[in-house]
Amino acid sequence: MSDFFQRFGRGWLQLFERLGRAHLFLFQILVGLPSLFGRSSLLVTQIYSTGVKTLLIILVSGLFVGMVLALQGYYSLVRFSAEEALGQFIAQVLFRELAPVLTALLFAGRAGSAMTSEIGLMKATEQLSGLEMMAVDPFKRIYAPRLLAGFIAVPALTAMFGAVAILGGHLVGVEMLGVDAGAYWSQMKAEVSFSHDVMSGMYKALVFGFIICWIAIFEGADCIPTSEGVSSSTTNTVVYSSLAILGLDFVLTALMF
């Protein structure tokens, strides 16, 4: 019995110790952020490798999500003869919830895991130690550009996910199921508020981008420098990021609406 309590206590202590380390780590990255002024090439490179390389999966997913939403929405709305509201329905569901959450989940799976494995391998192959010994601070050179890149890329990808999904909804709702095109766009324009619906999704995306990159960078830098350690940290990034996205989505929704 005492063994159980010992293990239980040790587990919690280790968890809090790691959380503390993660916060100190984040603080050091934030301190390193101003060094990016005048070194935009580092940021651009990271926006390319995290954002641009994730674009294809975001666009394809967005298209199919929009098409499915149109199908499901149409079959529900047509029972009340309210199919003209399809555009409004798709846009509100997308911008408030699906676009930021699904984009963040896809980003965590594609870019977050890549970030963790890249940094983990840099640690395992002594590249991070090598940088430190060349008097190059990894917080400024490696971590800060990645954190800022994720913070910028996730909202941009969310906007693109939403735009493509609305086009997918149009394709199915208007072109295939015969909803009036004018009604589709005008209802959307009349009922969807930019400041309330669209921006709330963008705020969520900013928070998700920041959290995913923090988790991904910390997991990479804190991993055990072996192939098993890197693999385990990569898995942790996807699992922890996904749970954080879903949990924070509830908190942010409760606060904003």
């Binding site: 192959t125 002594e126 590249q127 130690s129 090598g130 430190e132 010994m133 060349m134 008097a135 190059v136 601070d137 050179r141």
Partner: protein, 276 residues
């Protein structure tokens, strides 16, 4: 009691280690190491596997902090330095990692140019000259456009050496530079370390298991075991040492002061008195 390895006869010490204690978890790796590393010489640190030789290099470079003791590099106590002062000192130190630690997304040229681009505002034309001169010195000017994945282990270490030399450091630390090298690569590395040390007036600290190769180019050798310095001196003095431990280590005898058998109960009792 530990042996204090001093170099007062040479008049100048670059690295001075006093009463160094360091541990990881419950395991104590160093228990009062005392060591002086002379300026302008090649010093090799040897010892059995797991004695913390690489850890010692990381302590000298300030990547780890000791639990007690002082490590002075060129008069500065490394563990007490602020982050910015430590980074300033590191610009004058080079370290050659066992794997080379080259940045895998950069070409050989860009890897060697990396420290110059990070720390100076020199024009690209001048950087090109500096890089080509360093690559020529290690015999790899023709490999400038290759990527680290295309290099052999020996070539990667030579590129890493060119990179470590690019900022004209006062000292270079080599972590197991000869491990896994074929005889030709080994010969090239030995020549390079010796030539570069003499030509550029560096101080070299080598951590190595390769006894004969390391001793052939070293001015001083320090043997570390069980958290302490057990013997130190010139290679000739060590070969003449009367210490059974040193002789076992230098000759690679399987049994001696370091027993072949791990501590165990009496063999006869173990076999005959075993309970099934």
């Amino acid at each position: 009691m530990s042996i204090v390895y001093t170099t007062e006869e040479n008049g100048s010490t670059l690295v001075q280690i006093r009463d160094l204690h360091f541990g990881r978890g419950s395991k104590q790796i160093f228990r009062g190491i005392e060591m002086d590393i002379p300026r302008g010489q090649i010093t090799t640190i040897m010892g059995p596997s797991g004695t913390g030789k690489t850890t010692l290099l990381k302590l000298i470079g300030g990547q780890l902090k000791p639990s007690k003791g002082a490590i002075e590099v060129d008069g500065q106590n490394v563990p007490k330095l602020s982050r910015s002062a430590l980074y300033t000192l590191r610009k004058r130190m080079g370290m050659l990692f066992q794997s080379g630690a080259l940045l895998t997304d950069l070409s050989v040229f860009d890897n060697v140019a990396f420290p110059v681009r990070e720390h100076t505002d020199l024009p690209e034309s001048l950087i090109r000259h500096l890089v080509l001169m360093r690559l020529h010195a290690v015999g790899l000017r023709g490999a400038r456009d290759l990527f680290p994945a295309e290099l052999s282990g020996g070539m990667a270490r030579r590129v890493a050496l060119a990179r470590a030399l690019i900022l004209d450091p006062m000292m270079i630390m080599y972590d197991e530079p000869f491990t896994g090298q074929d005889p030709i690569s080994m010969g090239v590395l030995l020549d390079l370390i010796k030539t570069v040390n003499a030509a550029l007036g560096l101080t070299s600290i080598i951590v190595s298991h390769d006894l004969h190769e390391s001793m052939s180019i070293s001015d001083y050798v320090v043997i570390v075991s069980d958290g302490r310095v057990v013997e130190a001196g010139t290679p000739a003095a060590l070969r003449a040492s009367e210490s059974g431990w040193v002789q076992q280590f230098l000759n690679g005898n399987s049994d001696g002061p370091v027993p072949f058998q791990f501590e165990a109960p009496d063999y006869r009792d173990d076999l005959l008195g075993a309970k099934v």
